[in-house]
Subunit: 410 residues, 2 copies
């Protein structure tokens, strides 16, 4: 199936946002065996949008659009599709009811201009969007398919995952395509690439390597006549790679480091507390991104100064002797957090996020400690010397080590 993506929005053409929707969808289509041949970005202009839609509808079997489904005058995707298809836009009573309810639940009057989000053409079916006011459109005509999805990434991704990909898979017939993503930390992309290179040329299952914020991901995709067969192909290939990847693997598919850690804490009935300096709250913030984290996360202390560390209970002598950026202080931070907040495990992070070095330690240095009351696991990291990178990498590194500690805890 030949597919095409059209991303709608003048803000993309002005360079105000990068079109990550197109790359998200592009990365998902191969799993369904769909070939993406073109991506076009076009502004909020009815004539040009209609032209793009027409060309796409003529040359492709599947057209995916994102954006332009908002409530303002600039949002023209509905109008563009209606013109291209020569169908009439009408307010759908059920969509209108849903829209008015969305606003009334929030005790917010609905601006009358929003009513355009309840319009639809006869060939289209609305796709639910609980995250926003713009439903998507699923349009089938003459054996071709056009799917219009809202532009805000959280709405787009949910709609793809929960509403669109399953229906597409069904429509495409019986070949089963299964994917499994293996997530690793602490290895460089080029190193992983070299290690798994014997498998990169395989066509079924395929293997692709991606560098992501939380480490290197390896994605296996198998095509087969049945789910069981595809699963077995993937399992075998994963075994092949097991010894190569070793202990750097921390999770699969939708798992995140914070969800993996959360699940282990719940399983073992343990609680957690943190004290962080260079990550400035990102560790606590990441841990609390997991729904239900209030069941195991007692709290976190952000100590951006030595005084703050000392006021929380870190030993001032340790700071004076070893410096604030030292394994000794990281260890004490972990212990103090644990005791102070009555948790089973404490995590401490101290390092240099930049822009200036601290105590002659270079930007990008961090010491991480995990204290479970019996022993302290101490690790050291050097990351690219950019503020955001240091915060992010040190946070993931700490969660990775916390996972290791939890795995060895009974």
């Amino acid at each position: 199936m030949k597919a095409e993506i059209i991303s709608v929005g003048t803000e993309i053409l002005l360079g105000q946002i990068t079109d990550t929707n197109a790359s998200y969808l592009a990365s998902k289509l191969p799993e369904l065996g769909i070939d993406l041949l073109w991506v076009t970005q076009v502004g909020d202009n009815l004539g040009r949008l209609r032209d793009c839609l027409e060309r796409a509808w003529n040359r492709s079997e599947l057209v995916l659009t994102t954006g332009g489904l908002g409530p303002t005058e600039d949002d023209l995707t509905r109008e563009g599709i209606a013109e291209m298809m020569e169908e009439e836009l009408r307010v759908d009573p059920e969509l209108e009811r849903g829209l008015r309810e969305f606003f009334s639940v929030r005790s917010f009057p609905m601006p009358e201009s929003n009513i355009k989000q309840a319009t639809i053409i006869p060939s289209a079916k609305a796709i639910p969007n609980p995250r926003g006011t713009a439903p998507g459109w699923w349009v089938e005509r003459g054996g071709k398919l056009l799917i219009a999805i809202p532009g805000p990434p959280s709405e787009m991704q949910r709609m793809w995952e929960k509403e669109v990909s399953g229906r597409l898979r069904e429509r495409l017939g019986h070949e089963i395509i299964l994917s499994r993503t293996i997530k690793t930390l602490l290895m460089a992309e080029s190193a992983v690439d070299e290690m798994v290179s014997p498998f990169l040329s395989s066509t079924n299952p395929t293997l692709a390597v991606y560098a992501k914020p939380d480490g290197i991901h390896l994605r296996l995709t198998a095509k087969a006549g049945s789910k069981e067969e595809a699963e077995e192909m993937i399992a075998r290939r994963e075994d092949d790679m097991g010894s190569i990847l070793g202990e750097s693997t921390w999770g699969h598919d939708d798992e995140t480091l914070e969800s993996v850690v959360g699940t282990l804490l719940v399983e073992k009935g343990l609680t957690l507390a943190t004290m962080e300096s260079c990550t400035g709250g990102l560790l606590a913030n990441t841990i609390t991104d997991v729904p239900g984290s209030s069941n195991y996360f007692k709290g976190g202390l952000v100590a951006y100064t030595n005084e703050a560390k000392i006021s929380y209970g870190v030993d001032a002598m340790l700071i004076a002797t070893h410096g604030a950026v030292s394994p000794e202080v990281a260890g004490d931070m972990a212990e103090v957090a644990r005791l102070r907040l009555g948790a089973d495990i404490g995590v401490g992070i101290t390092g240099v996020a930049g822009p200036t070095p601290v105590e002659d330690k270079p930007i990008g240095t961090a010491h991480i400690a995990i204290d479970d009351g019996r022993e302290k696991r101490l690790v050291f990291g050097i990351y690219p010397p950019l503020r955001h990178e240091v915060k992010r990498r040190a946070t993931y590194h700490a969660l990775f080590e916390l996972r290791r500690t939890l795995l060895s805890t009974r």
Copy 2:
């Protein structure tokens, strides 16, 4: 001048990389008064690439391509342009000399396939690329212009900055285009749209409304014969909108709420401390995203349980009487953070991030307090009942109120 970008590379269509080249170039073109009307991404396929180039050459005055200039068989941009222009590719002796030198300087034998990077067509002039082996192409014919730029972002950006943008500016003459973004919080997109609707149809300056994570942004863009004139047009239109937007405006252009707050804290010589529950560290994390925040941010306390709040010093009686999610407790959290960490100003946030309601208060409720030692500013927010939204919105809301407090502080 109507422009179009073509990004070449199958890796974009597979979602393996995001096309940041297009958004980089898109963000640069408005400064030159160039209107970007289309961006197309196409794979390493000669037929489809030539089609895209042909369409672009017919409908646009300036075509920018990135990618496909490498030395491998997959790199087809040169071939595509030559076919489209019906001109012959020949090895240019001077380019060949340069290429051989590039390799010999690095004491690296030149793979013979690299010679294709020294080929060019008669209408094209080579653009130097000291960062790599692929020169760019500057092609002029019939009053139209095509510029082919290598794909690696560091080569692309250098070529744009040092070689292309200046020549383009010279060729275009003197029209100046200036933009200014006004950033607001606490208003819905559709409401802002309605309020500023009289200005939305203006063609110079233009006005566009965008919903962003940190609120609603309004972007004014003016074209004029001189910088001063364009600046005045924007200033006048901004004044027109001032009374409409009122106190909801918090910043401009590249400013973020955290940078605005940071600048005010530095100006006034004040320090900050935080205690947060439902935002789980996101407030501290956002504050510490600003380089130099260690100069004013003393530290933050994340209190995910009532015991943690009480252990930090929050009054247990207040929690028992009013509930943990109450203005009284938010106020006490702000005060305790301020006193505990020896800061001038304390911020407290308590609320319900979900997935379950707390004390019968619905998901998405938050109380925020700013305590400057003289008085407490208390505000209340209701946000969309999704964990991430609650964390994000409550954090920005708190920073917005902190800005207000700082502005009224001498």
